[in-house]
């Protein structure tokens, strides 16, 4: 496909908004980086991967590489070189851009500790990027990359050790997780367990705590984008991971000349462990709750010809939680809560000119959430309309065209189309509750329905770079949503600026508006009120990045955000007269509110010695919220101060030791007593005034990881012991109140907890 055809195609799709970008796909790319990769003896390292920013290439049989760049890297940019059997090499680019000599050191087989990569600064945004090896060796995470990510600045501490992605103290639904740009509903099994991604399948995780790029939308918080790993082309290899909770396998390799495959599957056996434990200790009714989870990821990359690439990716997660009334009886009544999601995405990339690429990515997704008893399952099976009502289906098409506009400017024009089918239906049992806290609804929402949604989101982003170290990224994103014929429109301009202040030191500024439409929660009557508006946030940021040397990076970011809108829902029950079927449906009502927040994030990543690496981060986050007429109050996740540190060291004989620590302010605990609610005959909590700033005690925890690697001809074997809360510190995660909120008792956090695992990595 030539450049003109590509421009025509995209122009047809995005209309008149993008002709300038499409027609301007011309200009000059940056000069290529060239050089040679060798080992210490001077022997070439064939197949070494050389990465600079978004561009990458492989060294040939002589170790020679030529990395084509669409733009000239700014001063301080880093070049990363990876090769099997060698330590990753990170170098800061200087003035020399040709005939680079890159010498790799043999991989240290004494352990698989943390490798700290440099912070890959995008053209403008604040982005923390960590690669797979860095993420999987962090103490206290059990090798889970997403849990390791939450130790970075910008994340607030997740209570009870649960896997909650709380970004800058905002509510979780303000932020989202994407897989290669595709949004997924949740990423931790049961909210407590490991993330749904096998560590071996993760290539990189990009974390934007704010001021995220225009290709992401419908959020007012942050973005976590998980990049799945493309298979490697030289030969087949794989890995098997086993620990106390689950087991999984990973394989990757070539299929034919131009196709590579990577696939991973994992299944838990917590149910079996619980059963065995109950039998061993002769505990009755110990398996009243049976959790089962599994997940899968697969990716196929095909390169039919030079300049094009086709990939297919499937990911999914299964969480099933079964409650047994009498585990000893085969005929016991059971209640099953399920949460499944699946995504499939195809991506076609075509080079359409010098440095210009057209990307087309259609995807489909299905989410299934329900909670049913055996009896209700039988009823549902007998009814005519039971098959798909508990599913939400979503189809997305994303088209992006990137390319140089002028010598200084590079453009991105994109369009995202989303169609979400109606019909999330929660089939829930009726659970009467004699006492209800708010005195109103005292049962469970029996039948919730979401409405059809159609969303069209064109976006434009340009990146301008100048030789004196200035880069500017203006962007704009529009979202047009239609829900049952009611339209929401948001138009969000954004801009980020970076300026090189001295060699290795860069300053940056960012501001922008971010919207989250009412979407499926919008209601006809509420929409008539002018105060019911999409949630909107304004993000402001200023920061410094300092690449002190090839191994040390320091970043400092100040941020401020304000949010207003109607993003939260509370439920009432109503009967749709038009349906005339007598069924009651849950009806969401918008809750209007405001949030204001500010903070500071500091990160020092360094490798002070050859065998030691890690990072130190500090986050300050002050978050307040209020509803109309109420005073400002601390938000639930206003953690204020959080200090985290992660260090790993490799020892002789294959041993490795890692430690991580967290010191954090306690979350707000504003309850100071109770008030008897006569409508329910029960007490409801009474909040202390905001100025009292009542909080939980300070939180502190240290985790320890010890691992041992045995190197073999066919495979390397890594055994590890992860000790969470090695000091068995009794942190207070909340208060357990008596019936009238007069006598609190502390709810303790996770005690010392071991995670034992074994990894076999086939070469």
């Amino acid at each position: 496909m030539n450049r003109a055809r590509a421009a025509t195609l995209l122009g047809c799709i995005v209309g008149a908004a993008l002709p300038a970008a499409a027609s301007a796909v011309e200009g000059q790319a940056g000069a290529p980086l060239t050089g040679r990769v060798s080992d210490a003896s001077g022997a070439p390292v064939a197949g070494a991967r050389v990465v600079c920013g978004e561009a990458s290439t492989w060294a040939d049989a002589e170790g020679v590489f030529a990395l084509g760049l669409s733009e000239t890297p700014p001063p301080g940019a880093t070049l990363r070189v990876e090769a099997k059997g060698y330590e990753p090499l990170i170098v800061a680019l200087g003035a020399a851009r040709t005939d680079l000599t890159l010498v790799l050191s043999p991989a240290r087989a004494e352990g698989a500790g943390v490798t700290v990569s440099g912070k890959r600064a995008a053209a403008g945004q604040t982005r923390h990027s960590l690669d797979r090896e860095t993420l999987r060796g962090v103490a206290g995470t059990g090798g889970d990359p997403l849990r390791a990510l939450t130790l970075m600045p910008g994340f607030s501490r997740s209570p009870y050790g649960a896997g909650r992605l709380i970004v800058r103290g905002a509510r979780e639904n303000s932020s989202a997780v994407f897989v290669d740009g595709m949004r997924v509903p949740h990423v931790f099994h049961f909210g407590l367990g490991p993330s749904v991604f096998a560590p071996d399948m993760i290539d990189r995780i990009d974390f934007y705590p704010g001021n995220y790029p225009a290709r992401y939308g419908q959020l007012t918080g942050g973005v976590i984008d998980v990049a799945l790993r493309p298979g490697e082309a030289d030969h087949w290899q794989g890995a098997v991971d086993v620990d106390l909770a689950d087991a999984g396998g990973f394989a990757q390799g070539p299929v034919g000349e131009a196709t590579v495959v990577a696939v991973s599957v994992r299944r838990s056996y917590v149910d079996g462990v619980l059963n065995a434990g109950a039998n061993w200790f002769e505990i009755e009714d110990a398996t009243n709750v049976v959790p089962v989870y599994w997940d899968y990821q697969a990716r196929v990359d095909h390169t039919p010809k030079a300049g094009s690439r086709l990939s297919l990716m499937v990911v999914g997660s299964r969480d099933d939680l079964t409650f047994l009334e009498d585990p000893s009886s085969p005929d016991t009544e059971r209640l099953t809560a399920t949460s499944h999601w699946d995504r499939i995405k195809a991506t076609y990339e075509q080079r359409v000119g010098p440095g210009a690429t057209l990307t087309i990515s259609p995807s489909l997704g299905v989410d299934t959430t329900n909670m049913v008893s055996d009896e209700e399952l039988e009823d549902a099976a007998a009814s005519e309309d039971s098959s798909d009502d508990d599913r939400r289906q979503e189809a997305t098409l994303r088209v992006e065209l990137t390319g140089p506009l002028t010598a200084e400017w590079r453009g991105l024009a994109g369009l995202e189309l989303v169609s979400r089918a109606p019909g999330v239906r929660l089939v829930t049992p009726s659970v009467p509750q004699a006492r209800s806290g708010d005195g109103g609804f005292s049962g469970r929402v029996p039948d919730a329905e979401q409405r059809a949604l159609v969303l069209a989101s064109p976006y434009l982003e340009a990146t301008g770079r100048w030789p004196f170290g200035l880069s500017v990224v203006p962007a704009v994103r529009a979202d047009v949503a239609s829900v049952d014929g009611t339209r929401d429109l948001s138009f969000d301009p954004r801009v980020t600026v970076r300026q090189s202040l001295s060699p290795g030191l860069t300053g940056k500024l960012a501001l922008g508006r971010y919207s989250q439409i009412l979407g499926t929660l919008r209601r006809e009557a509420l929409g008539e009120d002018p105060r019911v508006v999409p949630a909107r946030a304004w993000h402001y940021g200023a920061g410094l990045e300092w690449q002190a040397n090839a191994a040390t990076t320091v970043t400092s970011d100040l941020w401020l955000s304000r949010r207003v809108g109607s993003g939260r829902a509370r439920w009432t029950l109503a009967v749709d007269e038009a349906a005339d079927d007598g069924a009651a449906r849950g009806e969401p009502q918008m809750v209007y509110g405001q949030t204001r927040a500010y903070g500071w994030e500091f990160l020092l990543k360094t490798a002070p010695a050859a065998r030691v690496s890690g990072w130190l981060s500090y986050s300050l986050a002050r978050v307040e919220q209020r509803r109309p007429g109420d005073a400002w109050q601390r938000a639930p996740f206003d953690g204020t101060h959080r200090l985290t540190t992660v260090w790993n060291t490799r020892l002789p004989a294959g041993w490795g030791v890692g430690v991580s620590g967290t010191l954090a302010s306690g979350y707000p605990a504003p309850i100071e007593g109770g008030v008897f609610d006569a409508r329910a005959g029960a007490y409801t909590p009474l909040r202390a005034p905001a100025e009292a700033d009542r909080r939980l005690p300070m939180y502190h925890q240290v985790d320890l990881r010890v691992e041992k690697t045995w190197t073999g001809e066919v495979a390397d074997t890594v055994g590890y012991l992860d000790l969470i809360n090695v000091g068995n510190v009794s942190n207070t995660e909340g208060w357990d109140w008596d019936y009238r909120y007069a006598a609190p008792r502390p709810i303790r956090g996770v005690p010392v907890f071991p995670a034992l695992g074994l990894q076999v990595r086939f070469k």
Binding site: L426, S430, R444, L573, A574, P628, G629, V675, R679, G681
Partner: protein
């Protein structure tokens, strides 16, 4: 999996794992000190005339003062059976988490120092200006009704303070009132009967509660079916018309009408301590050990979710 189910699952999982159980020392049904057991505004729902909109109120204003009402509370302190208590009450928009006594949008009611505890009654006379100030502030004004929080604070003889709250609703006349269907006006009557029961130890008391249940849910068969499905909810037609003449989406709202029976004792134990009035099994009272012949007091308090409240007091004498 949505957040509520996750929370449920995690909670159950943790509950099973750690074997948590309620602390018997923290039994809400045993009265040990100063308590408010019931609070009612009579009447809990009033219809008030409205006028045309003005600059502050885009839909309408309340034109007349609402009828005078009475705030009544059942206050018990077994340690101080008689003596002066200090009570004060406030009203504010129900959207607020609490009525700030210093806020402009809070109406403070007359304080009192009743000499005889157990039944406290405060007169309440709001003005239309109060309602309109709240109306301008209230967010969900489109429903043509105001939910107003009523808070009561009682200071005991030992300096302790306890708080209670309920809600009173003021309807505009365009609201198709549940009064038309006989709901608003059929609140539980405020009663204070003192009855003497002589029971065998462990006897089941069921018949009196069933009387309440029979009175409350005289529903059509279809509605009864729905009630069984959802756990004590009944329908009421609430289609309404704006002063502009626009008919707002006619539909039937499902109002919570569950009547919750709470049981309190001074010395004995009750099981269950609270249940929905339609449950047929009643409750079981267990006298304290070595209490034969000594009287105990049992309070039966019935709430509905719309502000209705009634109570009765039984003196329990256990036959040996």
């Amino acid at each position: 999996m949505s957040a509520p189910w996750l929370a449920l699952g995690v909670g159950l999982l943790l509950g099973v794992m750690c074997g948590c159980a309620p602390d018997p020392e923290l039994d809400a049904s045993v009265i040990k000190d100063l308590r408010v057991l019931g609070l009612a505004v009579e009447r809990p729902g009033e219809v008030v005339a409205v006028g045309p909109p003005d600059d502050t109120h885009p839909l309408y204003v309340f034109a007349d003062d609402p009828p005078p009402t009475t705030l009544t509370a059942l206050v018990v302190d077994p340690r101080a059976p008689a003596g002066p208590l200090r009570v004060s009450a406030r009203m504010c928009l129900a959207e607020h988490e609490t009525c700030d006594p210093g806020a402009a949008n809070t109406v403070s009611l007359a304080e009192d120092a009743p000499a005889v505890p157990e039944i406290i009654a405060l007169p309440v006379q709001l003005r239309a200006a109060h309602l309109n100030a709240w109306l301008a502030e209230e967010y969900w004004h489109g429903y043509d009704r105001l939910f107003v929080r009523v808070e009561l604070t009682v200071a005991g003889l030992n300096g302790e303070r306890v708080h209670a709250q309920t809600v009173v609703t003021y309807y505009g006349p365009t609201f198709v009132r549940r009064a038309d269907r006989g709901a608003v006006d059929e609140r539980l009557p405020l009663t204070n009967p003192t009855d003497l029961r002589v029971l065998q130890r462990g006897a089941t008391v069921a018949e009196a509660i069933n009387v309440l249940a029979d009175r409350s849910f005289a529903l059509a068969p279809g509605q009864m079916l729905l009630m069984q499905l959802l756990g004590n909810y009944v329908f009421a037609d609430v289609s309404y018309t704006l002063p502009t003449g626009d008919q707002k989406y006619p539909r039937r709202h499902l109002e919570s009408y569950a009547e919750i029976v709470s049981l309190y004792t001074v010395h004995g134990r009750v099981d269950p301590p609270a249940f929905v009035a339609t449950e047929p099994d009643g409750f079981r009272y267990t006298a304290p050990e070595r209490a034969e012949g000594l009287p105990d007091t049992l309070y039966i308090v019935v709430h509905d979710a719309l502000g209705g409240c009634a109570w009765a007091r039984w003196t329990m004498v256990n036959a040996p």
